[in-house]
Amino acid sequence: MENKIEISGLQVRYGDKTALNRISFDVHKNEILGIIGPAQSGKTTFLKVINRTLEFIPEATVEGTVKLDGVDIDTIDDVYELRRRIGMVLPLPVGLPLSIYDNVAFAPRTAGLRTKSELDEIVERCLQQAALWDEVKDRLDTLGTKLSGGQQQRLTIARALSHQPEILCLDEFSIAIDPVTTMRIEEVLKTLQTEMTILLVTNLVQQAKRLATRTAFFLNGDLIEIDTTDIIFSDNPGSQATYDYVNGTFG
């Protein structure tokens, strides 16, 4: 199995508070890796390390290495190119105060793409992938911020796909979406898996069970265990804490 991301000895601190405690694991190419764990266990921090947006938090310090396709991400000069290789969907939907079209065309444009026909093509494809196209195709010039919460979240997903990422990170993407839409997006994720590697941070353990190839369990900044989803959700995972968390008897 080819490794997409290799994490070794990753430690993140905010001031004197440890958010990630020397974790090491690999993410395989074209897998959906579920990342589960209670709040404050370092899941979101981990995503911020990968696309180096942790650099915007002044008090954060990082040790250890993260390699993307064998390249240490700290040595990448064009951090903007790195961020475009990674699609990021945050828990709360953020429609940028631009039209729906401009929301999706934002990343390709910042990367320098100007050709109208290519932009049109990207906008339509990404909105379709995010299961939003049918609802908005007749009003692409309305503001993205005027959409409903669930629609904005799908717009966010379309935007994250617009720069054709190799890795798609979803941080509790279904918090603001209704169950039906969630299911539609989950179907989309299964098809996207053939094109990209997906990191799925979720509070819904059942979502990880449904989608993930493998699942990692984070707890208080430690990686308790990472294994195939079948084993994590079996009666005999590697750690009792995993079993308790997955079965809801935790804490």
Binding site: N51, T53, F56, P58, Y80, E81, L82, R83, R84, M88, L90, L92, V94, G95, L96, P97, L98, F106, A107, T110, A111, L143, T145, T156, R159, A160, S162, H163
Partner: protein, 294 residues
Amino acid sequence: MFTETEIGRQKRRIENVMRIFFLVMTSLMIIPLLLIIGYLLYKALPVLSLEFLFENPKDNMRAGGIWAPFLGTIYLVIVSLLVSAPIGVFAAVYLNEYARESWFTRITNLAVVNLAGVPSIVHALFGVGAFVLFAGLGESILAASLTLAIMTLPVIIASTTEALKAVPMSFREACWNLGATRWQTIRRIVIPNSISGILTGVILQVSRAAGETAPIMFTGAVFYKAIAEGNLFAYNIAEQCMALSLHLFTISTQVPDVTEGIPYGTAVVLVGSVLLVNAAAIVLRIYVRTRKKW
């Protein structure tokens, strides 16, 4: 079932008393303002005319119009804002969007807040030392405008900061996640959604620059200077000028036997121009509120 209890009656009484109290306070604020403007207009009516605006003061400022001080004030306001607006706005963008929290930004922000509270006479003394004497500009429109610019700068930085902070942080994070640089984020998202607030802050400084007397008294404003009437380019910024605020002071206190309406007319023009400019800011704000984007 819905009979009023003693507590309910009491709540209603207090509610009424408080509403009247706040209404009285609001009236105390509005009534003096209306009285001042009404009184000024009443007293100024005999002299107000277009000639009053476009004629130089005559007869040792006992008669004539206010052309020279009016144009002087316009020069001072425009030149000072041409300096303070770009510096203030861009400095605020740096402090908000680029600078990390550090001792440098903390000291700068502290300085901005404190400078905004410095009395204008102190700015005047600084202007005399820095621009008139040290920089060798002499008493001139340029020196006076730079002094006014120093005075308005901190407030412009503060108001621009407010406008920038009104743009949610989540917009910036979303842009960064999409691989946008800070500049791309500022240009496409932050500035378009804060420009109205920024402009409002700048426009409100017009009234301060126009109204202050102390900063210009020793740096570039003179008691009397005749200029070509009706010529908008009658002043040279390396020379001194008259100004409405100083002129009002002069004819009210220093010159005997001034035609009665002239000081009031001068005040009306000063207040009127300021209100006109502020109205522009208000219209801008209303226009933007109707097309708020989130």
